[in-house]
């Protein structure tokens, strides 16, 4: 199964080469009206490279576009054969199935909110990129451009004109039947029987130097110039096409098969399998519930995690999914995107550079540094925590222990302190404190804990003993 990255790059290059200044206006809107939406086409295509099948309303919402406007753009791309769309009437259940599939596919952003689940029977539209067809379409388009220019330069599709040198009467090739002479091999003038001269020959032989001639020359120059510019400006696109040529194009299949695949109702051998990361989750036999994929995430400590990432060609290059906070576990070899540090929903994001540095590191070095970081962070956090706790204990003495929860041993959490990996929630198994923890730390009251958890509520994962 093909890697997405080169194909997504192709889509982005294509968007910028051909759809950059496409303005998607309704017919009744004047061209001069406010809110020129040129460039929107590029934004939409880029957004689609970060998704698979997506409900158009959801896409509109995350791009902050009016759904009508988005639909117009998508319809345009459908006609351009870049995008496949599917429309269906669906109930709340159908919408749910899609959401579940989307969640399983790791798109993350397509999830339906609770309130939205009571959809009546509405027609919903979905769209996704048709990578295989995009390659063909782009290749064909470039071919046509070049051919048109070349034909024009060779004056291939022009109808030959003839002129009589005596009476200057002009004829075209359409008159050929009437002009044939049966005495020789030339065309003859109907008026004076003079031997006709093909017009291009005439221009070559005599230097007429009239306006017509100059115009033709200028036109030729213009065409030549255009040809050069095409070659130059499309070079990256053509290079990418070449790169992609022998790779299998990513294939999402139809909306239904994609959904089934992502819900795992299909057997693994299904031919329209998706990319590797989705396969991994797809095999999970689950009821159509979002986020059931949770347990599936391979939480392998340190080294193996790094290896895993290298092996999965499907997620190697482009889209590393943003993992929800509850999926983030210690020891996972995460890039910035996976932690969601860069905003994935931003419409113009060109994630070419995102997280590259993280990925490029040598896996072993990476693993070691992570371990080191982890240990360092652990001790630091422990120390800090102890200080905090001590302070709190002083304040709340007596009060804390009288609370009903006081008997419980609670998992608590702390924060990684070192520099760039700040926001990550790390859980501790409370029962196994390392070394020199002091006793009061162990029995932490829920109430006491609450205020300091502060900004990262969702990172908390309580384990009740």
């Amino acid at each position: 199964m093909g890697s997405l990255e080169p194909f997504n790059r192709l889509v982005k290059l294509t968007a910028r080469a051909f759809y950059d200044d496409i303005s998607m206006k309704g017919e009744n809107q004047p061209k001069t009206s406010r809110g020129d939406n040129r460039g929107m086409a590029v934004v939409v295509l880029d957004a689609l490279t970060r998704r698979q099948w997506v409900r158009e309303e959801d896409l509109a919402k995350s791009l902050k576009l009016h759904s009508k406007q988005l639909r117009r753009i998508l319809r345009f791309f459908e006609e351009e054969k870049l995008v496949t769309r599917d429309h269906r009437k669906e109930s709340a259940k159908g919408a749910k199935i899609y959401s579940a599939a989307a969640a399983a596919a790791g798109d993350g952003q397509a999830g339906t909110k609770e309130g939205e689940e009571k959809v009546k029977l509405h027609t919903h539209s979905y769209c996704c990129l048709d990578y295989a067809q995009i390659c063909d379409v782009v290749r064909y388009r470039i071919h046509r451009m070049k051919k048109t220019l070349k034909d024009e330069l060779d004056s291939r599709n022009t109808v030959q004109h003839y002129v009589c040198p005596n009476c200057k009467k002009r004829y075209s090739a359409f008159d050929a039947l009437q002009l044939i002479s049966y005495t020789d091999e030339y065309f003859h003038c109907e008026n004076c029987n003079g031997e006709l001269i093909a017009e291009s020959d005439k221009l070559a032989s005599e230097e007429m130097g009239d306006g017509d001639d100059n115009a033709r020359k200028r036109r030729r120059e213009k065409l030549n110039d255009m040809q050069q510019r095409i070659d130059e400006q499309l070079k990256p696109l053509q290079a990418q096409l070449k790169r992609v040529k022998d790779l299998p194009a990513p294939e999402f299949g139809s909306l239904q098969s994609w959904e089934r695949l992502n819900l795992g109702a299909f057997t693994h051998g299904d031919s329209c399998a998706a990319d590797a990361s989705r396969n991994a989750q797809g095999q999970y036999n689950g009821t159509p519930m979002p986020y059931l994929g949770d347990t599936k995430v391979d939480v392998e400590l340190a080294g193996s995690g790094a290896k895993e990432e290298g092996a999965e060609s499907g997620r190697n290059g482009a889209e590393l999914k943003v993992l929800p906070p509850w999926m983030v576990k210690e020891g996972m070899n995460l890039t910035k995107e996976q932690r969601g540090e860069t905003s994935n929903t931003s419409s113009n994001g060109d994630e070419k550079s995102e997280g590259k540095d993280a990925k490029k590191q040598d896996p072993k070095e990476d693993e070691k540094s992570i371990q080191d970081e982890y240990i360092k962070a652990y001790y630091e956090a422990l120390k800090k925590r102890q200080e905090q706790e001590d302070a709190k204990m002083m304040q709340q003495e007596g009060h804390a222990f009288s609370s009903t929860h006081s008997e419980r041993q609670l998992g608590t959490k702390t924060k990684r302190e070192d520099g760039d990996v700040e926001d990550e929630g790390v859980e501790w198994e409370e029962q196994e404190p390392l070394g020199n923890t002091s006793e009061p730390y162990k029995f932490v009251d829920l109430n006491a804990e609450a205020p300091e958890s502060g900004d990262e509520e969702d990172g908390i994962d309580w384990e009740e003993g």
């Binding site: 291939r156 022009t158 109808v159 090739a173 050929a176 039947l177 044939i180 030339y186």
Partner: protein, 177 residues
């Protein structure tokens, strides 16, 4: 391109044909009148494939002829710009060559013949590549692309080219003999 369409025509029939075979006579006359004709709008009528409807006849004053409105299905052939056709060369001269695709006449001027083919005059004038491997002469079959059509009320004339990929000679009778 070929089309299967329904056309209508008012047929005049002599009173001597009136009788049990009136309809047969009518159809026979229709075929004779229509097949092989050309209209600028529909192209050449190649064949009548069926008669859909024969309307009520109307006696014409003074002559006794009866006019029947007849609806008939037929196959028509209408060449289009950009269409690829196979044609038989009918004449070769210094200015290019003429070819026929069924009823359609096509002229390919010499600047639309590949540059590596040169005109050779003689008993059998022809266009030949320098190595002699390809030769276009009378009776040669060529595949060509139509780059222009002139459609008159009763005639269609085309300009073609063989200066493109996969165009040119299909079979060469000169090479076989």
């Amino acid at each position: 391109m070929f089309f299967h369409i329904v056309l209508e025509r008012n047929m005049q029939l002599h009173p001597r044909h009136f009788g049990p075979h009136l309809r047969d006579k009518l159809v026979a006359k229709l075929m004779k009148d229509v097949e092989g004709t050309c209209s600028g709008r529909h192209g050449f009528v190649v064949a009548i494939t069926g008669v859909e409807d024969v309307g009520k006849g109307l006696i014409r004053e003074g002559t006794g002829f009866v006019t029947f409105p007849v609806k008939y299905q037929c196959v028509v052939f209408r060449p289009f710009k950009g269409e690829i056709l196979e044609a038989v060369v009918t004449m070769v001269n210094k200015m290019g060559f003429f070819a026929e695709a069924g009823p359609v006449q096509i002229f390919v001027s010499n600047h639309l013949i590949p540059d590596d083919m040169e005109f050779q005059s003689g008993d059998v004038p022809n266009y030949t590549t320098s190595d002699g491997s390809v030769k276009i002469q009378k009776e040669s079959e060529v595949r060509l692309k139509i780059i222009g059509t002139r459609v008159d009320a009763t005639e269609i004339f085309c300009i073609g080219t063989i200066k493109d990929d996969y165009l040119g000679i299909i079979s060469d009778p000169g090479a076989a003999s």
